[in-house]
């Protein structure tokens, strides 16, 4: 019995890590990973929204009619994001300032709608909460890792503490926008080299890489193909 819940955590953290394996939610990953602390802030706020949205959607899964489920999910997620945003503005204003527009943009983070569609609308509330926790923590870890690499290389610090010796000039490019693309590319290269299967094919070969399980996956895959002809 317990195993099922632990399995959800393992699944989110490692087996289907949303950022590194499923390649979901690339926008926030690239954007806020300039500092390790930002990664934690963004990761945890997304985790909070994800746990709550999974819980609410799972509780309502029998009462939401199938035809209007996506708009309903979007409204639920948007409300939760607004609550999170207001709480962060009040209690952690420094993190709120640093993350800026990317907090309201959690609404369009594919991980959240993806999990609602792929998991929460089919499973019990408790399992969905564990799924949200696993996925959220997996996202947080990946984001913090990317932030850490960029911060060490680009600024010479880790979590604000100096780690590179004073004589070493940090490579500023890594905290600039290009560094984000480079570091994520590096992660995928490493995973390719050691043979971990990622779903990067979807990332570069159709829009379903992002909205794998979400809203218009069906329409958009077939329609992109149609357009390609």
């Amino acid at each position: 019995m317990m195993n099922k819940y632990v399995e959800r955590l393992y699944n989110g953290l490692i087996k289907e890590n949303p950022t590194l394996v499923l390649m979901l939610g690339m926008c926030p990953t690239l954007a806020v990973s300039t500092r390790a602390v930002n990664g934690i802030g963004m990761g945890l706020s997304t985790t909070a929204v994800l746990i709550l949205s999974n819980l609410v959607i799972s509780l309502l899964r029998k009462s939401i009619p199938d035809e209007v489920r996506l708009p309903s999910y979007i409204v639920i997620v948007a409300s939760l994001v607004t609550v999170t945003e207001l709480l962060m503005e009040a209690y952690v204003p420094t993190v709120y300032e640093a993350l800026g527009i990317y907090i309201p943009l959690i609404v369009v983070n594919c991980i959240i709608l993806g999990r609602a569609e792929a998991y929460a609308n089919k499973n019990t509330p408790l399992l969905s909460v564990m799924d949200g926790l696993g996925m959220g923590l997996g996202f947080t870890i990946a984001l913090t890792l990317a932030g850490l690499v960029r911060e060490v290389l680009g600024n010479g610090t880790a979590f604000g503490l100096q780690v590179l010796p004073k004589g070493v000039e940090p490579m500023g490019i890594f905290v600039q926008p290009p560094g984000a693309f480079l570091v994520i590319a590096l992660f995928i290269i490493i995973m390719n080299a050691i043979g971990i299967k990622t779903r990067q094919k979807q990332l570069v070969e159709g829009c379903d890489g992002c909205c794998a399980a979400c809203a218009s996956a069906a329409t958009c895959t077939s329609k992109t193909e149609e357009a390609a002809k």
């Binding site: 607004t82 943009l105 693309f181 379903d208 992002c210 357009a227």
Partner: protein, 193 residues
């Protein structure tokens, strides 16, 4: 005054490029750029939708949300308005200009999930732009998106013919190309008026 309006467009298109500098709309940037023709069409559809969405969002914010003190509702309102708007535009085009619909219509549903559209609407509010400035910012940003995706699509059509080391194939080389483009676009930050 005119200078600042031009600056908004140029800054949206080049200096603060939405994809390469602000990382919005990465999904479609990486996903659709496989095909040159599809990229150009998506770009046009984005220009169309983003300009209209900025205008509508700005009107709603100034006339409804602000007078009633409902600014905190902006995320919910904007995302619903954008989703509805895309649907309406799609239906309108389908009925009234089938030619345009044929080239743009297929990309319209895709744009609903494009975070760049919501991002622009929210940025406009944050920068306290008025109606005209919002529309221009939306237009400029969308032009920036189009430039970036068309450029990446052309680069990728060249990459396809190269013999790459195995770990680099697929997403990594595309991301590295995007990084190089981003470096190039950093040069625009020196533009001043």
């Amino acid at each position: 005054m005119n200078n600042s309006l031009i600056l908004i467009v140029v800054s949206g298109a080049l200096i603060n490029n939405v994809v390469l500098n602000q990382f919005l709309g990465i999904c479609s940037f990486l996903g659709v750029s496989k095909q040159m023709k599809a990229s150009a069409s998506l770009g046009c559809a984005v220009i169309f939708v983003m300009t209209i969405a900025s205008a509508v969002a700005s009107i709603l914010y100034d006339l409804i949300l602000e007078p009633f003190g409902l600014q905190f509702m902006k995320t919910i309102v904007f995302i619903l308005v954008i989703a509805a708007l895309v649907q309406i535009v799609e239906m309108y085009l389908k009925k009234n200009s089938p030619a345009v619909y044929k080239s743009l219509g297929i990309f319209l549903p895709l744009i609903t999930t494009n975070c760049a559209v919501l991002g622009v609407a929210l940025t406009n509010v944050q920068s306290e732009y008025n109606f005209i400035e919002s529309v221009l910012a939306g237009f400029g940003t969308a032009v920036g998106f189009t430039i970036a995706i068309v450029l990446l699509a052309s680069i990728r059509s060249r990459i396809r013919e190269q013999d790459l080391p195995a770990p680099l194939r697929g997403a990594p080389i595309v991301l590295i190309s995007a990084a190089l483009m981003s470096i190039a676009f950093m040069g625009f930050s020196g533009l001043s008026f």
